[in-house]
Structures are given as C-alpha cells and as structure tokens.
Amino acid sequence: MIVPRHYKEIPQRYRLQGNRCKACGRVFLPPRKICPCGSEDLEDYNLSWKGKILTFTIIRVPPAQFKYQKPYAVAVVELEGGGTIQCQVTDTPLEEIEIGKEVEIVFRKILSEGEAGIHCYGYKCRVV
C-alpha cells in the first residue's frame, strides 16, 4: 500500500518542503537529519518551483500502477537555489524534452491506488 505511507510524505510532495545544510549549503528533498558533509546543523528550506532538466528518459514499459499513463517522461531536475528531484515531465510533447530546458514544477495527481482508486498527489514538471 502506498496511501498510508504517502500521508507522511505530503509536506515534501505538496510543498517541496526539504532542508538545507548550514555548513555546506546542500539542499535536500526529503529532509535529512545529517548531511553527507557530517554536519547535523540543517535548516528547513522549501525548494524552488523552477529549475532545468539535467537528464531524462521516456518510460515505455511501466509498472502496473502507471500502465494507463505510458509513455511518459521522467527527468532529473536541478532546482534554482539548490536541490535536485526526480519527477515526471507533464504538459509537454515528448519530442520537446531536452537536457538543459527550463521547467516549472506543477502540482499533479501521480497515481491512484487499489480498487478504491485513492489519489496520491505530488509534483511533476513542465517545460516552460
């Protein structure tokens, strides 16, 4: 089941609520208790909703939960002000997705789980 676990991740998925290391400046989503640099001095930080594509793929053989969405693109996005995320690219023709393109983060339904079809929401990006 994803839904009971999804509830815990809502601050990250709805608001990009992560944190930033005060020692080295690295930004994390989800937030970490300790930075790889060794510092435990981290502050709350909401990641930017703007960024650019570092790399991407087009998923043509998805897991069952995503079968009605295929084909869809998944990208690594570097956000302005720090932090990287992995998310789907939406509202963009697949052939227009390229490394380096600027994107904005948008709030979307990610999947629906089980026979009840409970929706799980989160972030995707779209090329601007």
């Binding site: 991740e9 570092l54 793929t57 998923i59 992995q86 999947l111």
Partner: protein, 382 residues
Amino acid sequence: MRDVAVIGVGMTKFGELWWQNLRELYVEAALEAIKDAGVDHLDSMYVGCMTSGLFCAQEHLASLMADYLGQKHISAYRIESACASSGLAFRLGFIEVASGMSDIVLVGGVEKMHTGADATYCLASAADQDYEAFHGNTFPGLYALIARAHMAKYGTTREQMAAVAVKNHYNGSMNPKAQFQMKIDKETVLNATPVADPLGLFDCSPVTDGAAAAILCPVELAKKYTDTIIKVIGSGAATSTIAVHQRDDITFLDAVYQSGKKAYEMAGIGPKDIDLAEVHDCFTIAEICDIEALGFCEVGQGGPFSEAGNTALDGKIPINTSGGLKSKGHPVGATGVAQIVELVEQLRGTAGERQVKNARRGLAQNMGGSGGSSVVHILEVQ
C-alpha cells in the same frame, strides 16, 4: 586473517524455469557446489536473495534453504543488497572463513522471478521507493537517466552501447547455462522495442530464474580437497547515494569505484594486473560505467573502448566472458555468485570455447540498484 580459497562452485541453468521453485533452484546449485568441492559438512551458510518476499511471498530463506539442503543445524543468514545480494553473501562468507570462525562455508544466491509477479514493480524496490519509484520510474528508466547523461557529457553513442550487448551475446552463445545462447547483431540492438529511451529491449538484462553457489575454506585446508587452489586475494564493498538524482555526478558509479579501490588495495594490484572480469551489465550503459570506474579504461571512454573490441574474449581485458547479465541472465539475487562461478571456471581452465588463455587473475563486480551498492572480488589461481 587467514587466506581463503574457493574450492567448489555450482549453478543452475539460467532462464525461464517455470518447473522449478525457489528452494529447488537453490538446493540444486548448492548441492552441485558441495559435490564439486567434495566437502562432507558445512559450518555456515549465506543466502543472497533480493526480493523473494515480493516475487514468491517467501522470506526466512536462511531456515528454508538450510532445511531443504539437509543442513538444519548450521548457522545460516539471508543477505540482501538488491542485485548485489550474493556478491555481499560471498564477502561475508569470506570474512567468516578469514576470521577463523568457520572452516567450510557455503555462499549462494537465488532468485525466482517468473512467478506472475510484476517484475518491474518488484525490482523498483531497489530504488528510492518514495522519491524515484513513486514517480513512475523503473530500473531501465534509472539507467536510461545515466545513459542519456553519459551520452551528453562524453559523446557516448547508442552504437557503442549496442557493441556491449553484441559482445555479451557472443560470449553467452558459448555458455550452456546461459538464458539466451544466441548471437545478435548491432541492428538487432538498435532496432529493438524501446523500453526506456535511449535504452531498448536489447540494452536490458532479462528477467531470470536461477541460483549459484560456492564453497569457501582456508587455503591450508583447500589442499586437502583440490590441486587447483583459487585464492580470494581481494574483497571490497561500498555504498553510495541510492537515488540517481542526488548524485554529484550522474554518469559516475562511485560505489563501483570505491569497492574496486578497496579490493585492488587489499590484493596489492591494479586494473592492469587483471586477466578477465565479470562486471554488472544489468544494462549496456552499466557495463560502460563499470569498466570506467574499475579503471579498465579512462573515465568517459567506456563507449569507444568497448566498440573497439578491447573487452572481447581476445581483447585487452575480456569482460563478461560468461555472457554477462545480458545473455547469461540476471536472477538478481544469484548474479554475484554466478560471476564467481565463471571466474572459477576460467581460472581452472575449464571454460571450454569461451576460455581466456593464460587466465590467472579474475575480478567480479556485483552492483545493487542503480549503483547504490557494489562489491568487488579478485580471485587468483595459485
């Protein structure tokens, strides 16, 4: 620390084995290894398996496998590190023998993947579940992210990646235990059904059932069982960032680099001293990144290095003589020890048509997930 030898190996045929279940696969490989070694008892056992819980709804493999192997009172452990599970099982068995705690240790690996379970979903559990898999990414997708970044940064081409699949299928065509014993050409790879762009079906290792096993003992004791002593001269394991997007350099598998560095240092040798290697080619791009991180070629040059034939059976450094994960098959939890099986056959000189001439030292590199963990072993025939 005592010197440790591999004195026996066993392996099932790899493939789509609907007529064999999880325990039968494991016991077949384990019995073959026990008979190959000629030992009459085991002190301890490590079972590598990634996700029998998702594929077969079966956990507690230490008990199940010891029971069905007729070894119900030995100490046994199930080891999980995604696709590096049995590479790590091998390392733990090595440590147990080296430490003096045990003399005869069986290290094995098994995965039963053809069960009707959604393999793409099961395998995605090796990724960051909440921050990669939740967004619909898959294992081919994660390596596709790496591949596209590698292509953009170093100019690696699809043709260069295809050369890896063509070479591994050629090697696998001579391995009677391989899942796909057929040769393929470059066009087959390039024109295959796309799975996760830029990777197509023939860039991906298959879904496989299978098991592999090896017997470890102190070198001093090994002389009682065999004249061909194959010694473990290096062992290294490392972890790295689990999620692809959080890595400093998406194109570099630093867990592979770190595990290789540790194994080389322990052996007191470098990549130039290795005669052949089995590396974790779960995808064609993975073999390219592996050989870069292990120092067989310059970083960024894995593509042209492979395309030029350096990694072929008669090349500078033969890679994946067994056919690799691509052709031999990839029962995820069994792969690490299956690599050891190939090295032992090569070092014994019993690899038949795919024998590398004068093979004295072999390296095995087994990777978990998209590079979140890696384990390297170096074996030398004495």
